[in-house]
Symmetry: C2
Subunit: 479 residues, 2 copies
């Protein structure tokens, strides 16, 4: 409270500095002495808990059960799947000692749990009746990967759910990977966080280490940069072969199980902040805000009894919206209003003697900052409507920006370069290959995001390689 209120950096001028200021001053995050590891304060924990409930309900409906596997993975286990270990080994945090005793084998702090989980799957899966096996964990993972860590977006420890499923057939596995992406993750972004997403398949170069195919939600931010939102992987039988996950089918033959893994992380909180917040502070989608309404009484020199009583009555009437009253003495009205904007309460109710006499309140929506006069008897209904209207408006604003940013360019490399540089989202057709991805990184300011789930409708020539194009692909600068 003693610190200077108000955001000093503008989002458009320096998005990273603005982001840092926002999440600190609104008390979402506190830094610690461990670089890349942050404290999620109650306001951001509430968002994560809301996301948790949203996803957990949907995956349980699909027969997924929660469980907990150990934090530590012996090095020998991590080494079992070749591509996987190559992808993760450089960023593993290693435990080497307990007390002053050196461990016989060093232990990885899990960067993801495929290896320790699949060692158990190999024990549990014997015949086709044991399939499908659908488990999920809500936990923390550590990836010591980022030279420039950033809270939520690129943190060394983060929180997520990791779903790990095994099926008898490729078709079932691929169907589930797609179902999770389209019917669990997409609505989490679109309905809960008011963020439109691009869905598609990651390119060869960008897919998960050990996967056959990685599907993803990609988010395009108002600052003209994209960020990966979440992924759902079809692992094929790669891990099944490495770990010996075999089942006896109805044909009495042994088969390798087909596996998926899919995860949704606390990065999504950072994405939501980057998407919706502004130069006055946080703008939170109402479904994830810890308090949907803040009531700010307007104090007079004396006799504030009536205003405080009315504030309490209104708070009581608005039960279910977790209203908060800011009745702090010693802070001006202007200061308290700015503070409410900084902290991103979706609706602010201002209440003074003038309002009391007229039987109204002043209602201010955080996204538009427009004021409206609302009759007391209509308040509850109006609050409900305005929260829904705000959620729609946030989504539509983001969607309008996304739609306006997409540039289709199928031939001119020069125009692709120019548009990427200008912060546009390019849709083009290319020859899908790891080397093409490298060329794109080299020749443009951007990288590939994903290939949409559409077949090519024309015979395009890949603008990067001159070869016949195989897929559509999105390209943009990346956060």
């Amino acid at each position: 409270m003693a610190e200077k209120l108000g955001i000093e950096v503008k989002k458009a001028d320096d998005p990273n500095a603005w982001f840092t200021e926002i999440i600190n001053k609104s008390e979402m995050i506190e830094y610690t002495d461990v670089s890349g590891c942050y404290i999620l304060r109650p306001k951001s924990q509430h968002i994560w808990d809301t996301i948790h409930d949203f996803i957990d309900t949907r995956i349980k409906r699909r027969g997924v059960k929660n469980c907990s596997f150990p934090l530590f993975i012996p090095e020998s286990l991590l080494l079992k799947e070749q591509e996987h270990v190559e992808g993760f080994a450089p960023e593993v945090a290693w435990v080497t000692h307990s007390g002053e005793t050196k461990l016989a084998e060093r232990l990885a702090v899990r960067p993801t749990s495929e290896t320790i989980m699949y060692a158990a799957y190999a024990k549990w899966i014997r015949n086709y009746k044991d399939l499908p096996l659908k488990l999920n964990q809500w936990n923390n993972v550590v990836r010591w990967e980022f030279k420039h860590p950033q809270p939520f977006l690129r943190s060394r420890e983060f929180y997520w759910q990791e779903g790990h499923t095994a099926f008898a057939t490729e078709a079932e596995a691929r169907e589930e990977a797609m179902d999770i992406l389209m019917n669990v993750y997409r609505p989490t972004y679109e309905e809960l966080l008011a963020i439109p997403v691009l869905v598609g398949a990651k390119t060869e170069r960008e897919k998960f280490a050990g996967a056959v195919q990685s599907l993803s939600c990609e988010v395009f931010l108002p600052i003209g940069k994209a960020i990966q939102g979440c992924t759902s992987h079809y692992l094929g039988t790669n891990f099944a072969k490495a770990f010996g996950i075999e089942y006896v089918g109805q044909d009495q033959q042994k088969h390798f199980a087909h596996q998926n893994s899919w995860g949704f992380t606390t990065r999504s909180i950072g994405v939501a902040i980057m998407m919706h917040s502004d130069d006055k502070g946080l703008v939170l989608p109402p479904p994830v805000a810890d308090h949907k309404v803040i009531i700010v009484p307007v104090f007079q020199k004396d006799n504030n009894e009536d205003v405080l009583t009315a504030a309490k009555e209104i708070s009581h009437e608005l039960k279910g919206f977790d209203p908060l009253i800011d009745d702090r003495i010693g802070y001006t009205l202007g200061w308290r209003m700015n503070d409410a904007e900084l902290r991103g309460y979706p609706l602010r109710i201002e209440l003074g003697n003038r309002e009391l006499e007229a039987g109204i309140v002043t209602l201010v929506r955080r996204d538009t900052l427009q004021k409206m006069q609302v009759k007391r008897e209509e308040l509850r209904e109006t609050v409900k409507e305005q929260l829904e209207a705000m959620q729609r408006a946030l989504y539509l604003k983001a969607k309008a920006h996304l739609d306006a940013s997409i540039v289709e360019e199928y031939s001119s490399l020069e125009n692709i370069q120019k548009q990427v540089e200008a912060g546009k989202l390019i849709k083009t057709a290319y020859f899908s290959d790891s080397t093409t991805d490298d060329i794109i990184r080299e020749k443009t300011a951007g990288k590939t995001l994903c290939s949409p789930f559409e077949d090519l409708t024309k015979d395009y020539v890949c603008p990067f390689t001159g070869k016949p194009a195989t897929h559509y692909v999105y390209i943009a600068k990346s956060l």
Copy 2:
């Protein structure tokens, strides 16, 4: 399924071997390659999630908010409170490398979060308006302490909630530490897990490293051994002084904050299993069972249509009790009944043609194994009643054993030794001091559990030291 069904070791003969067999065969736990770290399978995860919700609701009602602090604690932070570091340093898992790079400072995998949390509290707490501060985390911690680790009871990684609160005054802090013990933790054991507890204060020797006073729930098991159930600590200003947690009071003077920490762990799951389960397998308190009812259709040589249809109808009628149907072909009725007993479903419904014709079902309660015939139209109500009756019966059985085990002995050391050896729970009066605890460990087969919240009513002489007694104390063998 291929493994041999049925528990081969008897609880009375070898409780530890019996426990290991129970939790493996009922699919509560799977072992891993990391000694002391276990997989919580969905059945035990469900129990923990139920405990989570029970406690979380109650602490939120008390104004406690959830948050997440980093898993890693820099060594320099851990060293700040002298007693604390001495208590935990020998059992810390140390991260020394990321990838192949040696870290500048080694990082402790949190054994508990006092140090990293209180470094932040020192930043956040400035004046009396910032108090009380009440935060909680649901997370995993690692203590590499046990020579003989055991799932749930003594695992190297475990799950818990850790509440950390700061107050202006000692009185407020002590009141909260007691409130959490008596009104959050005790009902978690008594109401949810059907386990009676002894409440009291830990002795000097047994209290938490860094605390002024540790309060605890102690559980006395049917095998004649006690185990600590959970603790709530008043930390005084020990950590506040080490971390500089000071507030400016209404008197404009600086004061150190008074702090508490309190935790409830997955050990409680192991305690519940040790308390209630028997030689046939798991016996779970109904409120924490993943499925309250299992329906076992009795198959005939042919025409099982009617029985299966009825099983589905009953399953539908019993919605809310998460009923499960065991309609596995190829397993005998006896095998499926034993399997249901092994897995601890509180109620089993047997359903064959005989029952169908009579319009009844056979209902079997897991704790008593008594069979009753129930009319179909009364089934839902009877299920509800029997689940409640079972919960009461489990509690009363444990309470009767506890009451019958308490031996009050205030003078004869020899009798105390004899009774402890015989698996009794001794209540005596002693001279409270660390050295007395050592004498008790040396001269008896037991140790002190806690001192009940009662003042001495007579002038006793401590049977261990000959000094005037200061407190009542419980002594028993320890698991």
